[in-house]
């Protein structure tokens, strides 16, 4: 069955694999983007189909459902306007106080919405693909969030597509702070038992005297330079001591549901 030519072909393929695996990171990333560009027509088709399906669903919705939704949105809009007024006043006060203290003014978020167009086919990585790329101003290491909370950071960027590493991956560790107690820690992948639930992560490296309680909210601390301060990460589920009582670790339930991400916001660099 096996001829000499087969052995030669197999050796050639294995050599090619070794060559690919030993490529420098930047070159490998470019080759990868070039190969994955073959899927662009399918991603486009998939998005168009989803949009068309959405339009058909919208067109067939009964009028009373639409009227109810409209009423709810009007109410929500009014509430948000009041909150916006409050927030504007607080921002103005913050700006004035910072100016008095000669402190650097806080930057406002420059958000851009993106659709989730795919997920990592391998089970041992947690990444998603979004439909924004370098031509939309996206670059590596930008924070990605949803209206519920932090999602992850941009890992690789193509012209029209980017790969986002989700929070809870080894490649997306987040400096975080616990609300009220102001304890600092690092959000990382959850312990081995919780691999099947991507919405659970661990908050580690907190001192043993940390006062943590279930339900406390966890936000990004702004340390590390990638994620801005104050993005909601999730809430504490429970705590445990590790390293013979040296540190405290907490399990954190993410504010976003990683399995149901459809739209996300990329935090672009602030406009000058």
């Amino acid at each position: 069955m096996f001829k000499r030519a087969h052995y030669v072909a197999m050796t050639a393929v294995l050599l090619m694999v070794l060559l690919l695996l030993s490529l420098p990171d930047q070159t490998a990333a470019r080759v990868k983007l070039a190969i994955s560009a073959l899927f662009l027509p399918l991603f486009g088709l998939s998005q168009s189909t989803q949009t068309a399906t959405g339009k058909v669903t919208d067109a067939t919705l009964p009028r009373n459902v639409l009227v109810n939704q409209l009423e709810q949105l009007r109410l929500e809009n009014m509430q948000l306007k009041v909150l916006q007024m409050q927030s504007d006043a607080v921002m103005e006060e913050n700006r004035r106080l910072r100016a008095m203290m000669q402190s650097k003014p806080q930057t406002t978020w420059n958000l851009r919405m993106a659709s989730v167009i795919g997920r990592d086919p391998a089970n041992w990585w947690r990444t998603i693909q979004i439909n924004l790329g370098s031509e939309d101003g996206v670059r590596e290491n930008l924070a990605v969030m949803s209206s519920q909370g932090l999602v992850g950071r941009v890992h690789r960027v193509g012209a029209h597509r980017a790969q986002v590493v989700l929070i809870g991956s080894q490649e997306c560790k987040v400096a975080a702070v616990v609300d009220k107690s102001r304890e600092n820690g690092v959000i990382g992948p959850s312990s081995s038992a919780a691999i099947l639930d991507p919405n659970l992560v661990d908050l580690s490296y907190m001192t043993r005297n940390s006062r943590l309680e279930p339900g406390q909210l966890v936000y990004t601390s702004g340390l590390g330079g990638i994620f801005p301060q104050g993005i909601l990460v999730g809430s504490i589920v429970d705590t445990r001591t590790v390293e013979h009582g040296l540190y405290v670790e907490a399990r954190v339930k993410l504010a976003v549901n990683i399995n149901q991400l459809e739209e996300v916001w990329v935090l672009l660099p602030p406009k000058p």
Partner: protein
Amino acid sequence: MNAITLIVILAFTYLTVFAQTTVDFIRVWLGAQVDLLPAFVVYAALSGNPLLTTLIAVFGGLWLDSLSMNPLGVTVAPLLVTGMVILYFREVVLREQLSAQFIFGLAAGAAVPLMVVLLLLTFGMQPLLGWGSLWQWVVMSIGCGAATPVVFRVFDLFDHWLSYQPLPETTFNHNREMKRGRN
């Protein structure tokens, strides 16, 4: 198997890799995405030829890695090795049997992710692993095993549609026809 069948199977592989990226209800229900490339390699090794096995391993692996955080090429070697091992023993396998297809799909579905993870660890990467990964491994293996007979049916159908089929042999032979009459 002719060139057209080969191209159709490769196109099917391309669509399957895309589907594994965009369709994730199995991942949401069972906590793991089922990889169908090992099932394709089993078909190529048992019913195809070394060329098809190599092409599926190379293109399928590269396409999958390009959409994943895997280093480019890391899936190619496990798929190729699995395919070649099956190809080596194909003469002693009853490929028409459903049970044989299931067992080979199960074994390939178990072996390929294991080899990929070992390669990742060898190259110093840190994939998300834990006790939960055992469950994912079981889901991937059984999923691939269950999908393999379906892959055989579908690809055999393609082969049937796209290849020249041998004419059925009859006992009638034109050379032996006895013609009655004056001439």
